[in-house]
């Protein structure tokens, strides 16, 4: 299995990870319904943050009659699913029509440059992953991007971007400090 955990070494999900228990409880709660494959993958992604092949194999053993191939087919078809580990914060830049005509491409480019990542990639320090999405439903506030659940609206000026990202770095530093204080 080792070679399947090649996405950033320390992130392998161990077979005894407690989240599998939660996933099993969820599967048991929906087991008697029809057509639950997507729902189970969605729950797995909610729990683990992504659905690597090892998790899919586990699910396939748990569900009767569902092959890994089928799950893999689903997880690669739908854009919601990530097969590799995501950054601590997920940046989604809207490239829907309303945002595009108002210059959202410039936001993507600014982020790429600033974080040195590609769309679909994850930053070196694993703080951010960058995605382009279609319409977040805030078209009146275009152009918009979302970091986790927070919407940043009317980003006409890409110079705001470093400032926005700094907030997250700062938060993370504070967390670290708190942790090390607790440790001490």
């Amino acid at each position: 299995m080792a070679n399947e955990c090649n996405n950033r070494n320390e992130s392998c999900i161990r077979p005894d990870d407690p989240r599998y228990k939660e996933l099993k409880a969820y599967i048991d709660s929906v087991r008697d319904q029809q057509g639950i494959n997507i729902m189970v993958l969605q729950e797995a992604q909610r729990l683990f943050g992504y659905v690597p092949l090892e998790v899919q194999k586990w699910i396939s053993l748990e569900l009767d009659d569902v092959s890994v191939g089928e799950l893999y087919g689903i997880s690669t078809f739908y854009s919601q699913f990530n097969l590799t580990k995501q950054g601590k914060h997920k940046i989604s830049v809207c490239l829907g029509t309303a945002c595009y005509v108002k210059g959202a491409q410039a936001i993507v480019e600014a982020l790429q440059q600033h974080l040195d990542i590609e769309v679909g990639g994850i930053s070196e320090d694993e703080m951010f992953s960058l995605e382009a999405t279609r319409c977040l439903g805030c078209c009146s506030l275009a152009p918009v991007m979302m970091i986790d659940d927070d919407v940043y609206a009317k980003l006409y000026d890409t110079k705001q971007i470093p400032e926005i990202l700094d907030k997250y770095y700062l938060e993370s530093e504070l967390e670290h400090e708190m942790e090390s204080e607790v440790d001490a």
Binding site: N37, E70, T97, A98, V101, T133, C135, L136, S140, V144
Partner: protein, 618 residues
Amino acid sequence: MAKAKAKMTLDTLKSIQADVLAQQEKENNIRILVGMGTCGISAGAREVMAALEAELAEKSDVENVQIIPCGCAGMCTYEPIVEVVEPGKKRVTYVHVTPEKASEIMYKHIFGGDPVVKYTINGEFKTLNEQNFYQKQKRVVLKNCGEINPEDINEYISRDGYQGLAKAVLELKPEDVIEIMKDSGLRGRGGGGFPTGVKWSFAAPNKADQKYIICNADEGDPGAFMDRSVLEGDPHAILEAMAIGGYAIGASKGFIYVRAEYPVAVQRLQTAIHQARELGLLGDNILGSKFSFDIDIRLGAGAFVCGEETALIASIEGKRGMSRNKPPFPAKEGLWGKPTCINNVETLANIPQIILNGADWFRGFGTDKSPGTKVFALGGKINQTGLVEVPMGITLREVIYDIGEGIPDGKAFKAVQTGGPSGGCITEENLEIPIDFDNLVAIGSMMGSGGMIVMDEDNCMVDIARFFLDFTVDESCGKCVPCREGTKRLHEVLDRITEGEGEPEDLQRLEDLAENIKATSLCGLGQTAPNPVLSTLKHFHDEYEAHVTEKKCPALVCKPLLTFEIKDDCRGCTLCSRMCPVRAITGETKQVHVIDQEKCTKCGTCLTVCKFGSIIKY
């Protein structure tokens, strides 16, 4: 409320309505409505709400004030919006509210009786409804959005909620319901415009042990968000309509297929379903009749093609969302092979009112062939963006100039795009055409789900076509060759043109390929994917020509076709040369600088950093 479960009747429904209205109309009663749609929340409505509640909590003796979260009123640019409603008094609308302003409003207005005029729109003490934006609108679908608490079923009931369902199951036969729907002339708002009553009449006679009603809330058109707004602002209307549909075609089970990207909508639907079950408005023997109906939610996983009926069905079945050939139509063989009716959110939102008020009432709006209203998401280069609901038959010019108040910054209007990735661009010459399903198709676009994106002189139409193709290439399910391969080739050609490597023959190539894809694709996605190309080719041929022959982008969008140059009035501040990422700019301090065109990557950094406006692009 739970005790009402056993015996929910029309009388109980009416008595709930009377109670809620009596409370609202009580003298001194104050309702504070806070816009809590996705747009409001992203502008900071949660913090505003918390501030209002904190102030109220301080005053334990105040009992006449209710703070009510509600859906989006359509003018998202003013969010966060807080409105104060008191019986017998002018409604007060506060805009761009912050937590600090909220506290002040509570003190001065709610507790002190003195509205804070400076926080109203432009400090003019006018309500949303007095804005130009609302003058030509007619609210049927959005009637409750921004008016009621979507998480309180009683508020929905107070506005005649569930009385359409009561009328259907208690007074009408299923055939009668279908007849009313046919008479109303309601056409599907999901894009196709197929008459809803006719669709129901196809599914009704098919005998099966199980039939299904599906609500299509996959809202895939990027740039359209009316379905989100209805789900967030008025979820019970959808449940009621689905139950009416279930009664009409003989289905006892419904699914709502909603995008996972709409977490607020999902949560409000869950709450609504729970409340409706509690009150016996979903479940067994609804309102004491023999009719039983229940609803489940399924989350979409991010695939545009799943808005297409057969792909959607595959997705609910837990498979990859790939479309299949029709016939058999879902009305005959749908979800798990059973007869199934799929209706769009906005379509459904009309239905309770049609049943309650009759087909003639509905025909009082709109045109003969397209009765009723349509909600558009007005966006792009326009002064007032937002959701507008207008009677069919209104002209595009009225929507763009009277409601949307025209193009910002004195720029020239270029085109309006309707129908999203399946639609086309409409130019100045067609702005007087009355909007309805058939007229839009006749001018080479389509209604689609109602995205209406305005473009000005700064948008390059070749680039826009490429943008839409980028979308369809990504979203093609891959099952049929014309769509999977054809859209890729179209995209390649467009890419080439915007990169400055196009040739004059490419234009004909685009057209031939587009016609082929249209004619031979399996489902609606491929059949309509070339539309953005064909319509821009037709209306903006000059712009394509400029790209391929002169290698110029007239709108100055396509970077590889641009030239950056420093004018003679350069003061030699050296800023651009220091900021240029590829060191393409040279020059001595206080001397005019020069850009090495070979090295320049047209990133535009110099243009943005120059403080003296000495750099031009053309």
